[in-house]
């Protein structure tokens, strides 16, 4: 039985259902210094769906992924994946970080980056065999980057780099995919390629969670959305969650009516 914040302002904010979901977050509070980046956040991500995490800058979107993966330590709250504490099932989770966190001059080729995704399977001593290389190449084919396998990672464009990191996540063979702004600053062809791969993952029963910044494409790419601004504003199917009221509540007055009309069609 997990302990978490069960009620806030007299509303029930947490219940025990959904804890066997691919990802269940309950009462999560993360602070940098004393200012909370996330406060008492609840979220449930269902199997076989593509979910978007939406919110303004500084709403805690990236922090949510980092807390889920144990990269930042929460003040309170629990994170379960497939009914177990997330630390126990990290091998079933693949993560695609924001591109900016990487050293682009690192002496490594595209194929080596993808092989990095098999680290758990290779362990410390096992040699990289042809079979591993073939599977890494297959992952590159899925993102359309097979012709770049021998390139040094810094010689690629931003979109191509992003696809290589998606290929590394694919090489992990995970069930739950967490992506942090994969479409930020990439070309249209890359966005198309990434969406196609994510949809194929969803169709094979995998769970995909994407921190997303482009409100205009939410309803075309995703089935479900989580709107956050430090706390949860709304969660559910895109069609019911994306309303003028929830968007105004998430973004404050920052969203002009013209934009709203465009997003909501």
């Amino acid at each position: 039985m997990q302990l978490g914040l069960a009620a806030q302002d007299g509303r029930i904010v947490a219940s025990d259902d959904g804890l066997t979901a691919p990802l269940a977050v309950r009462g999560l509070t993360v602070t940098y210094g004393e200012k909370p980046a996330l406060f008492a956040l609840d979220a449930t991500f269902d199997a076989g769906a593509m979910s978007a995490i939406i919110g303004p800058n500084g709403a805690g979107k990236s922090t949510l992924l980092k807390a889920v993966l144990g990269m930042v330590t929460p003040v309170s709250g629990t994170v379960h994946a497939y009914g177990q504490p997330v630390r126990e099932v990290l091998d079933r989770i693949a993560y695609v970080p924001q591109r900016a966190t990487v050293d682009w001059d690192f002496p490594t080729r595209v194929i080596d980056v993808v092989l990095m995704g098999m680290a758990r399977e290779l362990g410390l001593l096992r040699r990289v065999r042809q079979d591993h290389r073939d599977r890494a190449m297959a992952c590159l084919v899925r993102v359309g980057m097979e012709h770049f396998a021998e390139r040094q990672i810094g010689q690629l464009s931003g979109g191509q780099q992003q696809r290589v990191f998606l290929a590394r996540a694919l090489a992990q063979g995970a069930d739950l995919y967490l992506l942090d702004e994969p479409f930020a600053g990439v070309d249209a062809a890359t966005e198309k390629a990434i969406v196609a791969v994510l949809k194929s993952l969803r169709d094979s029963g995998r769970t995909v969670v994407v921190v997303h910044h482009d409100l205009a494409t939410v309803s075309t790419y995703f089935e479900r959305a989580l709107l956050i601004n430090t706390t949860r504003v709304a969660e559910g199917p895109v069609a019911t969650v994306l309303t003028p009221e929830t968007l105004q509540a998430t973004y404050g007055g920052r969203l002009a009516h013209a934009q709203l009309a465009q997003i909501l069609g």
Partner: protein, 409 residues
């Protein structure tokens, strides 16, 4: 030295096969092994962008050496046991390392400030202890200060053996831990997300550097040992974009540096071994910096120059094709030297043909780049590359159907 045992005789004769004195052969072997171990372990440190931590580690060994000497003297020894001194240096280096880690994590100090603080405090304390020891006049203290800049005068077979075994173990451990260390260096956020304990990986890496430092301070000295850890990897980086090769080259480079440096210093009296080894390594670094293909300074200058000429030629040809005058004198000179333009800026027959080809190529590229389905081919566009090197003839024919029809003249 009387009563040489059979083993000792064998060692002597094998050393003399090298045509060196016994001591010189020992030092060269030891320095070579140390250089290889330092180069391999140092590569991971440099790739993690924490090269200066090795300087803090090295300077933090000094109080440990002095305290170990005092402890051994207090228990009635001479205080000169190398194993004892190295054990002491390892303890205080580890303490210094923990201090750097604590200052970085628990306070707002950045790592470079923490390194500076730890380095100077430990080194200052060590110098103070050495001064106290001199005034005490106990034990056989002569030679303690050689740990500062290194000394090879009285090197023993057991010293070389210590380096061989210690360096071998450190290298082996580095190769076993290579995957977690490289993942943490390349993409620490991802490393944590896959369940890797990056802080423990870092600590293990520092432990390896510490081991190499401790076994190397006898030869190179604690002030200069940092060069043996940093120079081979930065030199190796010039020669390869593949991490496995960078590690290998750094190992070979470090080994050669140690060996050559020791041999050079043995070739004349009174040449200090540590500094000569470091200067040998620096020579390798400067040569690589200059002549390395692609990443070297000369290669970069040459590539830039060549590229500039190609850009000028291409722009000149496109200007001729459009019938524009060529204003830039450098462009005009290139064109006329290639027989494409007359000195007055008009195109020669050869120039007109080349200009038409350049224009056709450019128009084909524009069509290719406007087609989102051809993104990979289009990514090769750099304004210079002929489209024939990217597309097959039938693909080009396909594009040509979409070229604007030429007006008949």
């Amino acid at each position: 030295m009387a009563g040489a045992s059979p083993t000792r005789n064998w060692r002597r004769s094998s050393a003399e096969m090298w045509g060196l004195g016994y001591n010189a052969a020992l030092v060269a072997t030891g320095a070579g092994l140390l250089g290889a171990a330092a180069g391999i372990t140092g590569t991971f440190l440099v790739l993690r962008k924490r090269a200066l931590v090795s300087d803090a580690i090295a300077h933090a060994t000094l109080p440990g050496i002095a305290l170990a000497f005092l402890v051994m003297v207090a228990f009635g020894g001479e205080g000169r046991s190398l194993a004892g001194l190295l054990f002491g240096s390892a303890l205080s280096a580890w303490l210094g390392l923990l201090c750097v880690g604590w200052l970085t994590h628990a306070t707002r100090l950045s790592e470079d400030a923490a390194i500076g603080a730890v380095l100077s405090v430990f080194f200052g304390f060590g110098i103070l202890l050495l001064t106290v020891i001199q005034s005490l006049n106990v034990g056989r203290q002569a030679g303690l200060e050689t740990f500062l800049l290194g000394s090879t005068a009285g090197m023993l077979y057991s010293d070389a053996l210590t380096i061989a075994v210690g360096g071998g173990l450190a290298t082996l451990a580095a190769l076993v831990l290579r995957r977690p260390m490289l993942t943490a260096a390349f993409d620490p956020g991802y490393a944590v997300a896959t369940g890797l304990d990056v802080r423990r990986v870092d600590l293990a890496m520092m432990g390896l550097i510490m081991a190499v430092t401790v076994i190397g301070i006898k030869i190179v000295g604690l002030v200069l040992i940092v060069a043996m850890v940093i120079l081979p990897p930065v030199t190796a980086r010039f020669w390869s974009n593949r991490v496995d090769r960078v590690v290998l080259i750094a190992g070979v480079m470090g080994g050669l540096t140690g060996l050559l440096g020791a041999l050079i210093s043995a070739s004349a009296p009174n040449l200090p071994t540590g500094p000569i080894i470091v200067l040998t390594g620096s020579a390798g670094f400067f040569v690589s910096l200059m002549i390395a293909p692609r990443r070297g300074v000369l290669a970069a200058l040459l590539a830039r120059h060549r590229y500039q000429r190609r850009v000028h030629l291409r722009q000149g040809l496109l200007a001729l094709a459009h019938g524009h005058p060529v204003y830039e004198r450098f462009t005009l000179r290139l064109l006329s030297r290639a027989g494409l333009a007359n000195p007055d800026g008009t195109a020669t027959d050869k120039g007109r043909a080349a200009a038409a080809r350049a224009l056709l190529d450019e128009s084909r590229w524009q069509i290719l780049r406007a087609d989102p389905a051809q993104e990979i081919a289009a990514s090769h566009y750099d304004g210079l590359r002929p489209i024939e090197t990217v597309l097959t003839p039938d693909q080009i024919a396909q594009i040509d159907t979409r070229l604007a029809p030429r007006p008949l003249t």
